[in-house]
Amino acid sequence: MLSCKDATKLMSQSQDRKLSLMERISLRLHLMMCSGCRNFNEQMAFLRHASRRFVSAFKDPHE
């Protein structure tokens, strides 16, 4: 059973590399049971979205 600590590592790494099938399965199982990690996963997605937006604000004066 994946711990939350290990799950956070996988959720971060999924932004940087393709997770293995086993990693994806164990992460998915963990997320089904853990609302804290589901929120963490959303937060990782948000960090990426916010970073893109942050940069586009420099490049596009209308934003």
């Binding site: 942050f54 604000a57 420099f58 490049k59």
Partner: protein, 190 residues
């Protein structure tokens, strides 16, 4: 876009370019250098630039490469600290209990509608503050990944790091950033 108006366009972009370079290089003089070199390179390559409306995108792409050159040079200086030691391995241990699950008070919260958040001007001030709190090398790796949109393999190569080292640094950067945003922004919203 004709070459005659390119210098004017560049001049109008100068402040945006400088802000962008400063953000990532964290040093005014180096940022100035990066922007100067970018503007020179843009003028020299002007005949190769055929597009009409994307001057800004094109110039930012040049700047992106100048920034990476400077980051690479800087990380090869002897007094540069190591990357994965900037944030200690145990830095986030207190968030978890002995079974490595979230402490109740530390459980990540629901950040709500991301689209609403990014429309809030004050949020971006907090975002900047949280970015500035990242240690310098950690911040550079994070920005190369998320702002300059380099693949992890490219970052490893540029900075002579192993892939797992890269993932560790990015993970700690994200942990630190989310913790800062959680505390400084999202918790206050509830």
């Amino acid at each position: 876009m004709t070459t005659a108006t390119l210098p004017e366009t560049l001049a109008s972009l100068r402040n945006d370019l400088l802000r962008f370079a400063r953000l990532q290089l964290r040093d005014d003089a180096t940022a100035e250098d990066a922007v100067q070199e970018t503007m020179l390179a843009a003028i020299e390559a002007a005949d190769k630039f055929a597009g009409q409306s994307q001057v800004k995108t094109w110039v930012f792409a040049i700047l992106k490469h100048k920034i990476v050159d400077l980051i690479r040079k800087r990380t090869r200086e002897p007094n540069t600290g190591s990357f994965d030691a900037e944030i200690a391995e145990d830095a986030f241990d207190a968030l978890f209990n002995e079974r490595q699950h979230w402490q109740p008070a530390e459980r990540p919260s629901n950040w709500g509608d991301p689209h609403e958040t990014v429309e809030n001007k004050q949020f971006w001030e907090v975002f900047q503050i949280c970015l500035d709190r990242l240690p310098p090398n950690t911040s550079r790796v994070f920005m190369m990944r998320e702002f300059l949109e380099f693949e992890t393999e490219e970052i490893c190569k540029e900075l002579s790091m192993t892939a797992s080292n890269c993932w560790v640094v990015l993970h700690r950067a994200r942990m630190a950033l989310r913790l800062c945003l959680e505390g400084q922004w999202f918790q206050g919203k509830k």
